[in-house]
Symmetry: C2
């Protein structure tokens, strides 16, 4: 693997992945949920903060957190994953947040369905998309910008899309978007705009930087590429045994080794998970479902004999999509769901 | 700077620093407090968990969390910093957790003074040290080990040393040592053993790996070195303006730019802080004290004119110790408190 630059390390020391032993929890403790702050965590005064609903609507709205809390609330367990998860496991990667595999987490998010707010505003028939603006501001691609992303009206109206003010039963902390964030279950995390201040209905597809330039699956610099949208199928395991510091190499006692992990997919339910030991694959057992937008546990017992092995796990969704055994290369290093490999020594 | 290895990046994506804009908060939101997990976050069953007090004591104790919560409780704001903070800013650094500057945070920790527990146990006069054992286990330097550190009886009996069960008013999350951790204000973080299961009074200085081999300030591989103990004086600033992604370069508007940050020291109070603009230093103003073991805010206003600049800040403690302008090199990359530099473009 190519070494990492200072720019990559500066991103890695301020953002964070979930230590993979965290896969043992159904609901990720808030403090180890993955976190990507695109620009800076902004200063937001919650006492004066409002979210504006503007543009192609019958009635413009300006809602305080108190207004939103009076609306119907839903709590959903949702697995979020960064679109760049797996980026560093590609050859010739772009300089960005250098995720290996840990940009994941599952929280219980509480908020009010966006659809109800949009119905109250009365989105006009000629509106094509909703543009969501966060309070974090910076420069990217030579353009000074607030962080902005859009959804089609159809996607925005789905019942699971929330304006969320709580995570794991507590008010959002600043780094997760306090006081309010968009939460779009099933989609990669860049869609769930934090520090949400404005929702604007527009008649043309949004062409802002984070939509038209970033978060695209490009085969070459010249390729316009496809939009990154829903989360591709993936399984990860809890690395078994104990780690060596700092290498992270794992040591396991011989005998029956229970292996567990989680699998998730934003496009179709996870249908099966396989565990591979040195390329011999066997079916793992799926655990109970937590919900349609959350990861699912799986387990498999390995009869381990002394020696060195490489463990892998691989998920397949109900549409037949299976994780690749090789990196899925693209310019921006997006959506790379190739299988995890864990080298272990059995003693 | 030398590029970073995969081993370093594996540590960086599972551990995390505090994004430096987090310096704006007196008390760090729990979810952005720095975190170093030496081995793995262990599985601890809180319902059966106990801390054992053993060895050279009159009465061995076995205390549940319920027992501890019946004891006198103290809440203290404490700034913790990893001993390896600044490691990556050294030339020829060792392969370890590759901190730049962000391995800091200040939380309100609640627990019961260790001294009272030790008094109840009756530490015998021939005891020299207390050895603290956590539940995280791994291999380092070829030795399989539980994470263990010691303190002299005198240091352990200080009134600010806590057995802590809460952080920022809530039960500890697993990654911060649930259900109980040691908390040693003023000392680098390796001292505050997490997932604490045993306290043993011993007659000889503890020679375990994390005491005798790791966490030492060695001038060469052959040098036995000095122990890392208390936190050296340091100031950090909130990087002003807005960032460029992914470089992190800052853009600032010309005019009066309020600069703020925090300064702290584990050996003596912070006496003054200076801000440097291209090597011209001026005194910053210190804010109110949060407490004897917590960082102190400071501020200074920069009259910024268009151009490119390097901003620095530097703290001095009441003993006259001042942060160095060059890295303080040592084999393990410990306690490197050399000044932060922030390149900015004023527009």
């Amino acid at each position: 693997m190519e070494p990492f630059s200072l720019v990559e390390m500066q991103q890695a020391t301020r953002n964070r992945g979930m230590p993979l032993e965290g896969l043992r929890y159904d609901i990720t403790p808030s403090g180890i949920h993955y976190l990507l702050v695109h620009f800076d965590i902004p200063t937001v005064d919650e006492s004066t903060w409002r979210v504006e609903v503007t543009g192609e609507v019958q009635r413009e709205l300006s809602l305080s957190l108190k207004d939103l809390r009076k609306r119907p609330a839903r709590t959903l367990p949702v697995t979020l994953e960064c679109a760049g998860n797996g980026r560093s496991r590609m050859p010739h990667r772009v300089e960005s947040q250098p995720w290996l595999l840990e940009a994941i987490g599952t929280a219980e998010w509480t908020g009010t369905p966006l659809a109800g707010v949009l119905e109250d505003a009365g989105v006009k028939p000629d509106a094509a998309e909703l543009v969501f603006t966060g309070a974090d501001r910076g420069v990217q691609g030579g353009i000074e910008q607030d962080y902005q992303r859009s959804l089609t009206v159809e996607d925005a109206m789905r019942p699971e899309v929330l304006l969320a003010w709580a995570m794991n039963g507590r008010a959002l902390e600043p780094q997760h978007g306090a006081p309010l964030r968009l939460l779009v279950p099933g989609w990669y995390g860049m869609t769930s705009v934090k520090w949400l201040g404005r929702i604007e209905a527009v008649t043309e597809p949004f062409a802002g930087y984070q939509q038209a330039d970033a978060y695209r699956i490009q085969k070459s610099e010249e390729d316009l590429g496809e939009r990154v949208t829903r989360i591709r199928v993936r399984a990860l395991m809890v690395p078994p045994g104990i780690p060596e510091f700092p290498s992270g190499h794992r040591f396991v006692e011989a005998g029956a080794v229970p292996l567990t992990g989680r699998a998730w997919c934003g496009t179709a339910p996870v249908e099966h998970v396989e565990m591979g030991v040195d390329d011999r694959w066997e079916a793992a057992e799926l655990g109970p479902e937590l919900g349609p937008f959350a990861w699912r546990s799986w387990s498999w017992t390995w009869q381990a004999e002394p020696g060195n092995y490489t463990l892998c796990c691989r998920a397949t969704d109900a549409d037949g999509n299976q994780q690749p055994l090789e990196p899925f290369w693209n310019v921006q290093g997006m959506a790379n769901n190739y299988v995890q490999t864990v080298p272990v020594t059995v003693r």
